[in-house]
């Protein structure tokens, strides 16, 4: 048995379930608990699916510290067909350099996936964010390939119901808000089992943000409802 395990350890192409698999190329998420669970952060050159209740469900907030870090690169962060207008003051406050944002909007159906694939594969984007409704496994595989080619982080924002479909994405995360902050279920990750109800504290930047109550104009107590 000892001989067998020494033999196995010699092999660099073999991963054994007991070892933690740490990726060197991961992008730190900005949340310690999530970084640990994802063994290094958001996977590079791959597509990550973020499932959440809706536009206010916390998925973009979860991603914001990582995007802020990516905006230091001299590449764009593409938002392809976002559901609403991205709001400059809000995004800017998270530390994302607005100059890096590239908004792609198109009314024709079917073009959003094409545009997303172009952004992922071009090499000119450090991240490409998409909000596809339905998505076939084939389309997702194409996006996955494009992301690898363009060394781009792909993030797909999808409804919670999409958890029922199988997916070739490298990472799938269901995000929700609870009273204590964000909470995530890791539905799929490379080199690890699913993990549920992972508590993610607020990122440091959000805690340090001055809140409205400290400003003189907002000293009034909230109205009685």
């Amino acid at each position: 048995m000892t001989e067998l395990s020494t033999l196995l350890e010699r092999r660099s192409d073999l991963w054994r379930g007991a070892q933690p698999l740490h990726r060197a190329d991961g992008l730190a998420t900005g949340f310690a608990a999530l970084d640990a669970a994802l063994a290094g952060g958001w996977p590079a050159g791959a597509v990550t699916e973020l499932l959440s209740a809706g536009p206010g469900g916390g998925a973009l907030e979860l991603l914001a510290p990582a995007l802020a870090r990516l905006s230091a690169q001299r590449r764009w962060i593409a938002l392809v067909q976002p559901p609403f207008a991205p709001y400059a003051p809000g995004l800017g406050a998270t530390g994302i350099a607005l100059e890096r944002l590239l908004l792609v909007r198109n009314e024709q159906p079917g073009q959003a996936l094409w545009a997303l694939e172009q952004c992922l594969g071009s090499g000119n984007c450090s991240a490409a964010l998409g909000w596809p409704g339905g998505l076939s496994g084939k389309a997702l595989r194409r996006l996955q390939l494009a992301a690898a080619e363009g060394r781009c982080h792909g993030f797909l924002f999808r409804p919670v119901a999409a958890a029922r479909e199988s997916s070739p994405a490298a990472l799938r995360l269901a995000v929700r808000r609870t009273a204590g902050g964000l909470e995530a279920d890791i539905l799929k990750r490379r080199g690890g089992w699913p993990q549920y109800q992972l508590r993610i504290s607020q990122p440091e930047s959000a805690e340090a943000r001055p809140c409205a109550g400290q400003r003189p104009g907002a000293a009034e107590p909230p109205p009685r409802l």
Partner: protein, 499 residues
């Protein structure tokens, strides 16, 4: 010509000819090639009347493989190949094609001469140095012509006439000096020389068959037999007297057309044809150190009219591959009502290439992101791609606006100071919220945050707002940004989402 006298004469003329190297490009199948090649490789033959009887003059590879051959009657060829497509010569298109190729050839030499009907002549001494010898130059020329569907024979020789004459023989040659040229010319049959018929008959009567035998005759006798004109021609052929060539002056603008062999509405077939026009445009632009910013394509559809496409670029560009990629994007998103019969290309907005001096340090692509932007715009429209900007306005709906995309090479400006929390998404128009016993509701009653932010501004331009903003949570945990109007009727509105 082995005698001492001509040898002396040759040395006298040598300085004129020896510095020059002429490259003749002969295109034997040009009359057939003026039709855009069919991408699917259908057999095609060109028919021309010979002594009043139509005969096949040229066949493409597929037709030859099927058994058709030059000289055959069209009916016989059709019997062998029922799908054989027969076309007639289009002399005007041939002239245009030769001129187009002269444009293309300007990338190899500044001195290009189209020699109708089917040859081009290039002064190649400079290009040989540039390409590092004849071999690489030939490979470069052939490597560009063949993908465009052109067969060619390349001969490099010391005199223009020598190069042209030998190129028509169909074999590539690289001849050094006048001696090499002379040796190569010797076995040529006399029929290849443009002589008056009487002179040719006289030479045949003397039992002469090839050029070598003719050149061995004493010069004085030749002058008597042939006259001054042919003798002058021979002197130019052999480099004894200079033979200046008219220099091709490219037109100031680029406008070219091409007939499609088979009508088509398939993107692939159209791209295949467009490739040739773009290669010619590339040569035209390269010779002038220019780029084009707008390409106008006209897809002629016979009686159904024409489809016009305008491809605008961010900045002048020259590379055919780039134009090609843009055209592909555009064609893929296009539905053609009728099949296309001919293509025409017009280039506009000619101007110097930007950033050309940067190439040395920054690689061939100084603005790599441009290509992504162009591809997106080409398919989705000009307004589909934008950037995002802060605006100094306290009204939330005016604090964010779309802007032209920023160059990612620039260093971003410092972010403005953090203020009260702001959502990541803003609704295009605030959405009215229902209230239930005074509490705002969205899929159930909302839980309000403790802080209130009053925004009261905009009185100066009539777009005044007076609102109390709150953070709120739905039962599902979504974080919202909502407000209540300060003035009656004090309604509640949803204005944004916190990501």
């Amino acid at each position: 010509m082995r005698g001492p006298a001509p040898r002396r004469r040759r040395t006298a003329a040598a300085p004129i000819a020896s510095g020059m190297r002429w490259l003749a490009i002969h295109l034997p199948a040009l009359p057939l090639e003026v039709f855009a090649p069919a991408a699917d490789g259908a057999p095609v033959a060109l028919v021309e009347p010979r002594r009043g009887v139509p005969r096949i003059r040229l066949c493409n590879r597929q037709a030859l493989a099927g058994g058709a051959a030059p000289g055959m009657g069209p009916a016989a060829a059709r019997a062998l190949l029922p799908h054989l497509q027969l076309v007639r010569r289009r002399p005007a298109r041939e002239r245009e094609a030769l001129e187009g190729l002269a444009n293309w050839a300007l990338q190899f030499s500044s001195q290009v001469t189209p020699v109708p009907p089917r040859s081009l002549l290039l002064e190649a001494s400079g290009s040989r140095r540039l390409f590092g010898g004849d071999g690489p130059l030939f490979a470069a020329v052939r490597g560009q012509l063949e993908p465009l569907g052109h067969q060619c024979t390349l001969v490099q020789a010391a005199t223009p006439l020598g190069a042209l004459l030998l190129a028509r023989e169909g074999q590539d040659l690289q001849l050094t000096g006048l001696d090499g040229l002379r040796q190569a010319l010797h076995p040529l049959p006399l029929e290849r020389i443009p002589l008056p018929r009487q002179a040719r008959q006289a030479l045949h009567g003397m039992g002469l068959a090839c050029l070598g035998e003719l050149l061995r005759l004493p010069r004085a006798g030749l002058r008597q037999r042939l006259g001054a004109g042919p003798l002058d021609w021979l002197d130019r052929l052999l480099g004894r007297i200079p033979d200046p060539q008219p220099v091709f002056q490219p037109a100031p603008r680029f406008e070219r057309g091409l007939d499609l062999l088979c009508e088509s509405r398939q993107t692939q077939a159209l791209l295949f044809a467009a490739k040739r026009l773009l290669a010619e445009l590339g040569g035209f632009l390269q010779a002038r150190e220019l780029g084009a910013q707008t390409l106008h394509w006209r897809l002629g559809q016979g009686a159904a009219g024409a489809t016009e496409l305008r491809l605008g670029l961010l900045r002048p560009e020259r590379r055919p591959e780039h134009f090609m990629a843009l055209l592909r994007e555009r064609l893929e998103g296009l539905t053609l009502e009728a099949p296309v019969r001919d293509l025409a290309l017009r280039a506009e907005g000619l101007g110097p290439l930007p950033g050309a001096s940067l190439d040395l340090f920054e690689g061939p692509d100084a603005q790599p992101g441009d290509r992504l932007l162009e591809r997106l715009r080409m398919r989705l429209g000009e307004r589909a791609v934008s950037g995002l900007q802060w605006a100094a306005d306290h009204r939330p709906e005016r604090a964010s606006r779309r802007a032209p995309p920023q160059d990612p090479q620039q260093t971003p400006a410092a972010a403005p100071l953090a203020g009260p929390p702001r959502p990541l998404w803003l609704l295009p128009r605030p959405q009215r919220l229902e209230t239930l016993r005074g509490r705002p509701c969205l899929h159930g009653p909302l839980t309000l945050g403790l802080e209130r932010e009053r925004i009261e501004t905009g009185w100066w331009d009539g777009q005044e707002i007076r609102r109390d903003y709150f953070e709120a949570r739905t039962r599902d945990g979504e974080r919202l940004w909502i407000y209540r109007q300060v003035a009656p009727p004090r309604q509640w509105f949803l204005h944004g989402y916190f990501g």
